[in-house]
Symmetry: D2
Subunit: 262 residues, 4 copies
């Protein structure tokens, strides 16, 4: 059985600088998430962090990554633009991407959405109840129609995202807000899933339902088809090779075989 | 009657450097397009070009622009990133945007789509026939179910865009290709329309059907609602002001009133 | 200024049989809704009810109706299938349709959606808070980012609808549920809006925000383009009249000019 | 490895009454399609026809069917409404559905779409070239970016369908038309794919690319999750069992435990 190669990218800042976070996630949030994924037979999960060279996301590594998970919060601005473009190209070429919680403001998510990705928030430890809105969707496989997190950061609508391909889950918050907690997109050949829970001062990634969603989402986001090569290419088709016989007519900007403008 | 303020942004390069283009568009392509728009009672169209300070798109100008049209080809790379972000913010805040032809590779279109926006192409002067796929859509008001352009640049699928909100028109090309020639999106509070025809060596923007589409598209893209202020804001909602009474519990990252991370 | 002709269709059962409903809506729910619409300069609203011949929706009446609003609950089964088909044809031909509250189970809504349109429910008079999820959408023009109804029937997810074109509002319920309270669709040339509030034992349609949404929705759903004639036609295009010259080849089922199968 | 149970439903009329069709498809079109599917390791395909009791689609059979394929043309009207509802319920509960060619006018497709599903057509044996518009989509796995059918019936836009979830393929016709040849939807928990080629007087289902699409589509449409039970249920949630404590207030239509209206 083909193993899905998942890479859990963690910002890895609060785990090292904040005692509360360090105690909840002694192996880092990325370590906890990777462990959750590795409980699945079909997933082989490893980690990468901001502090590694090229943030752990070299060309070679990304080429072998089927699905990338992204958790960041305090240091979005430290992620190099070149790496963001590299990840965006990989997604458009067919890599799956799962963006977690505060990753809504990550460069890569905003890069792929084109919108502000903003929201309202409150760190009060309040109860969240997540409702499934798309029954039997692969991402909610094995889940009840709702489940609760005793403490989560409130993320509230309006959420500045494009209309999703699918709204899979919506969250109810004790303080009176709602949020589209699980939404899907397609960008090029890549599938994208945003999942709202995961504030670092709460043990969210130890929750059984959350871990089920993460494993499901990796399986859903995986595109078994070969990665698109030269994902930004805009090939010129010559008159000679046209599929239907045509003759050149009218004035031209370009000589035969010339590259197009960019 | 409220006039819709439309600004036609033109790259204004080939009109000045290429004799063919200059003859077809003696007032510039932007001038021709603005004239087409001004034939409508409800539209007040002006122009802006790459060569003006801030490319003619100052903060003040954009604030008064209801709908921006964008034609560029040879000099996408010369558009300053800061202006691109400014336009993206305006769209997300409610300004309409119409991207024309080779603008598929403009920074602003790729910025808002998140995908490569690539395609195949051939400059052979071949016939294109555009079919309406969304009957009675406001953008095709007054058009027959298909119309022809005797010469257009071939743009062929696959077109590297996200799934549109609506596919309004599909083009048939003499050489054997097809293309999603008219597609709509929503980005934030702004409506976006991409329209494929408009190669600079052909008289496309003098065509009556094309001019009708442009006028319709401006009316469609116009959002009469006030522009969103502080379009990227992520407001913190305090526990005290929660809509339902809650009590602070659990550990926190943020002190009261502190800004969130970005 | 063109007046939008809106027809408010009311089942008109509980208003006559239930004392509570009769007191809240002495002119019928349809009467109250029509009055809300008539507060707008550009809308001319009238009513139709189940008990009228052809349920008040004759061919002639529908031909002059720009936007139809539909409220039903206790007597969905009494609506004649022929009238449902007539309304469905009108929507596909360009008439707007606004389906209210318990109309989620009406024949016309299920006919146009293709799905069960089911949900969970509770009649407890609990508080609902409706959040705007699509900022500056025409349907929420003039509304704050959220508003409350002190008592509404709980409608809870999962809601058995197809993925909407746009999710405009999401409801938060005091008892712990969420619901996609305002969703849009396009069916043929017609725009469809489903809006959840409106249980008959509460004064929902007297609420100022609700009335604003109704007026906005009528303006949004109105398609000024002419109604499509013969909306179900599947025209045969002859070889002789093909837009590109082709020759008949291969075996055929149909003689020249023959009707297609249905 | 789990085998996907696919049932190919064939109208089975022209195969028996038209000599041309009988020669191309001696085992029936459904037989040819089932054979194409059975070339895949993971698919177990059988057939059902109009003439069988309950059209071969008993409750028990559908319960075991993972993906249903539907080809009909001359006898749409002979399919019993009760069976159509049964199939619609199965799709909403999670069964995949693939609608082929003239099935665009089948009761089940129109039932699930809510729109006329009409188009223009010409039976001229002309060339069709199908372009992939969604690269690396699972349905086009292993296909080139375009492929040709030497003779197909022309199906032309406008195609009276709701906006698809994804437009996967678009057809180019020699006579000058275009068509959205491969489109996807989700209805309830079921995935739906419409695929245009397959006129009965041409050997379309013997074509290698077409057979690849059919096999891919079955794999794509298969939902491994358990079928939803009681797919049309609208459960009442009692005040006592509310997830958040609430108290009954306000007037009521329903007594405790009463069924809702339909």
């Amino acid at each position: 059985m083909k193993q899905i190669n998942a890479v859990v990218w963690g910002e890895n800042v609060h785990e090292r600088t904040n005692k509360i976070v360090a105690e909840i996630y002694p192996d880092g949030m990325h370590g906890c998430i990777a462990a959750a994924l590795n409980e699945a037979d079909g997933i082989n999960a490893t980690t990468a962090t901001l502090q590694e060279p090229e943030h752990g996301l070299t060309v070679e590594r990304l080429a072998e990554t089927d699905v990338l998970l992204w958790w960041g919060h305090a240091a979005h601005g430290d992620v190099e633009d070149e790496i963001v473009e590299r990840v965006a190209d990989a997604v458009n070429a067919g890599m799956g991407l799962i963006v977690l919680h505060s990753g809504h403001f990550s460069k890569i998510f905003r890069r792929l959405m084109g919108t502000p990705c903003n929201l309202s928030w409150r760190e009060a430890g309040e109860r969240e109840r997540i409702w499934v809105t798309s029954r039997q969707h692969p991402i909610v496989r094995g889940l009840p129609d709702h489940f609760e997190l005793e403490s989560e950061e409130m993320y509230g609508e309006p959420f500045g995202i494009p209309e999703p391909m699918e709204t899979v889950m919506i969250g109810w918050f004790q303080g009176g807000e709602v949020f589209r907690s699980g939404v899907t997109y397609r960008r090029g050949a890549g599938k994208v899933f945003y999942f709202q829970p995961g504030h670092e001062t709460y043990p969210t990634y130890h929750d059984a339902n959350i871990r089920t969603v993460l494993r499901n989402a990796v399986a859903w986001a995986y595109n078994p088809e070969a990665r698109i090569q030269d994902v930004n290419a805009a090939p010129n088709r010559s008159v000679e090779d046209a599929l239907e016989a045509i003759e050149q007519k009218g004035p031209r900007l370009h000589e035969d075989g010339e590259e197009g403008f960019r």
